[in-house]
């Protein structure tokens, strides 16, 4: 079973001429656990252009986090193992880099904002020290200069009285402020790509709005590309330029954001959008839930991973996994009976 993507060049976002900043091709990752082999990622491909915001959407078990953290080899290994594919960043295959070279990129050209700011910061180290540590690892500055830069970053992300707060410990900040600290840390070495792993999931909705606006502002100011992992289709609508939808370790659909919401093609995407209640709905329409259970990633899978829950599944769906193919410019779907064109089976 393969998902060949050679026939479909992943999302160009409309700007065909520019080469991609990051290009992931046929990435396959497995987890070797006591219960068996978990196929976390099955030959996925996506790309990000300079300054673009790509959102990767999925539920638990979709592989969205693994698919993105693999870029910097931040997956627990063992039991995880990247078994195939390539990750090309500005022309270099990151998977072939040795540890030293990779460390150079981590926190420098590519940085990460993690989900839970409470557990993602060292509790016994001052926040300033944690930011300075990042700066000193990548830039040739003195300690004094690094400290000044850290204070500047804290101010940039909207933390009041940064010169005082720089010596505080993480537990002295509220959840939203802690996440701002993480953002300051991620930006400290002027990265070209930021990976944001569900950074607002653990936050209250008004704080989430603040953080989303902050990231959007910083992104346009600094021209940084962002990969934003989320399960929240509302946040994605606000932030993303392009969206990739993942299910059971496969990318099932990818499109520019307007196209995805206006003309979803994959039954899973359609199902997800229909199962969301709309805040602005005047008339109450019944939620159409996707039936069945979340996918089991253990062991080999035959056919399309969504087939067990799909209303349109036929024999070919259960036998062969469909490849991700274009159905309209820049809009790819992996479905034998996609709802835009009717399918190719």
């Amino acid at each position: 079973m393969e998902t060949s993507v050679s026939s479909f060049a992943p999302l160009e976002g409309g700007r065909q001429q520019e080469p991609a900043l990051l290009e992931v091709r046929d990435l396959t990752t497995k987890f070797y656990t006591v219960d068996g082999v978990v196929n976390a990622l099955n030959s996925i491909s996506y790309s990000v252009r300079k300054g673009e915001c790509l959102a990767i959407v999925g539920e638990s078990g979709s592989g969205k986090t693994v698919g993105v953290l693999s870029i910097l080899r931040l997956i627990q290994s063992p039991p995880g193992k990247i078994v195939g594919g390539s990750i090309s960043f500005k022309g270099t295959d990151l998977l072939k880099l040795d540890d030293n070279a990779l460390r150079h990129i981590r926190g420098g050209a590519i940085s990460v904002i993690f989900q839970d700011p409470m557990t993602s910061l060292n509790p016994v180290m001052r926040v300033g020290a944690q930011i300075i540590e990042n700066i000193m690892a990548h830039e040739a500055l003195t300690r004094r200069q690094a400290r000044d830069k850290a204070i500047e970053m804290l101010a940039r992300v909207g933390i009041p009285t940064p010169a005082k707060r720089v010596d505080d410990y993480p537990h002295q900040f509220s959840g939203g402020m802690r996440q701002r600290v993480m953002i300051a840390m991620a930006l400290s070495c002027s990265p070209q790509l930021i990976i944001a792993d569900e950074p607002t999931t653990a936050l209250d909705v008004t704080i989430q709005a603040q953080i989303v606006e902050l990231v959007k502002k910083l992104q346009s100011e600094l021209g940084t590309a962002v990969i934003w992992i989320s399960h929240d289709l509302g946040v994605v609508a606000r932030l993303a330029d392009t969206v990739a939808v993942m299910y059971a370790g496969h990318i099932v659909e990818s499109a520019p954001v307007d196209a995805l919401y206006a003309r979803p093609a994959h039954p899973y995407t359609i199902g997800l959008l229909n199962s969301l209640p709309r805040l602005d709905a005047r008339v109450k329409t019944k939620l159409e839930a996707i039936g069945g259970l979340p996918p089991n990633l253990l062991g080999e899978l035959r056919g399309c991973p969504f087939a067990p829950r799909c209303a349109f599944a036929t024999d070919i769906c259960r036998a062969q996994n469909p490849a991700l193919l274009e159905v309209e410019p820049s809009h790819g779907v992996a479905c034998w009976h996609d709802r835009l064109t009717g399918g190719r089976a």
């Binding site: 990779l102 981590r106 060292n122 509790p123 180290m125 540590e133 690892a137």
Partner: protein, 308 residues
């Protein structure tokens, strides 16, 4: 600040508790007069025994006796040693330096060996260094200290004749007792360090540290180790107690002239006041060491210093 005061008060309460137990030991096994007189009572008339009782103050109500006991103790007066013909407290204080010397050496030895070994094991799980260290730790925790002492004496003292098997005076006298005393703490601290480190290696903030591209060495020291040490520091406090108590056996076997050996001998010769003085002094030291450890802990972990 209130945490410090509260902690100090707790220690005082602990020492008082021990003093009560030590005091009432004399009454628990019957008439204190008979215990102190022992076989000598056979040769005394009832009247002489009664005189003795009054002279010692054993006819007073127990709470008055306790009050005078505490009053005297605060001045360092714990009574008189019958076998040594000295004040009981003096007997203890004379022997204290030797015990402290042995316990301190064992303590430092245990830290110097166990923590680096624990870190190396955690960073290289299942590799040879880890397997060997874990096995040695298992031995260290399973072998009783007195058995180890005798083994060491046989090998290094009798067979190889490298080290003296008894007494004190030179650094060679210190080697075997220190090793025997430190064996268990080394083993336990090594395993504790290893598991604490392994636990923290999985934490989210370690992943963040790696994502920043800092060196693995920094990740292990500044992030993992710094956090792992917190539970280890608490365990070390309890160790002070073990070292003081374990020293009793080791001192007796190796003839090391410390407080432990002295107490054992005093028990044998029913020199009651020496036993009492020794127990209370050891409790006091134990409480003080634990207090220091707790205060150190609250200083190391910034979250505790900030209260509720």
């Amino acid at each position: 600040m209130s945490y410090v005061i509260r902690r100090v008060l707790q220690s005082v309460v602990v020492v008082f508790g021990v003093s009560i137990v030590a005091f009432f030991m004399l009454f628990m096994t019957g008439d204190p007069t008979e215990i102190i007189l022992g076989d000598g009572a056979d040769h005394m008339t009832v009247q002489q025994i009664e005189e003795f009782r009054v002279k010692m103050g054993f006819d007073r109500p127990w709470y008055i006796q306790y009050a005078s006991f505490v009053g005297n103790a605060v001045h360092g007066d714990f009574g008189y040693s019958f076998t040594r013909h000295q004040p009981a407290f003096q007997v203890i204080t004379e022997k204290m330096p030797a015990t402290i010397q042995l316990a301190s050496i064992a303590f430092v030895l245990s830290l110097l060996i166990s923590i680096p070994l624990g870190v190396l094991s955690a960073v290289n799980p299942h590799k040879p260094i880890d397997r060997i260290s874990t096995f040695v730790a298992l031995l260290g925790q399973s072998i009783p200290s007195f058995w180890l002492s005798i083994l060491l004496m046989l090998l290094f003292g009798v067979k190889l004749k490298w080290l003296p098997i008894s007494g004190s005076g030179t650094w060679q006298h210190l080697v075997m007792p220190a090793i025997a005393l430190a064996a268990f703490p080394i083993a336990r601290n090594m395993r504790l360090t290893r598991s604490s480190m392994l636990d923290f290696m999985q934490k989210d903030f370690v992943r963040t540290a790696r994502a920043k591209g800092i060196s693995e060495y920094r990740v292990v020291t500044s992030h993992v180790l710094r956090n792992s040490l917190l539970p280890i520091v608490t365990a070390i406090g309890l160790e002070a107690g073990f070292l003081l108590g374990g020293s009793v056996i080791i001192e007796t076997i190796f003839g090391w002239p410390g407080v432990g050996r002295e107490i054992v001998q005093a028990i044998g010769s029913k020199d009651f006041y020496v036993v009492q003085a020794g127990v209370i002094t050891l409790a006091l030291i134990f409480a003080v060491v634990n207090l220091i450890i707790d205060l150190a802990y609250s200083w190391i972990d910034p979250r505790i210093g900030f209260g509720s």
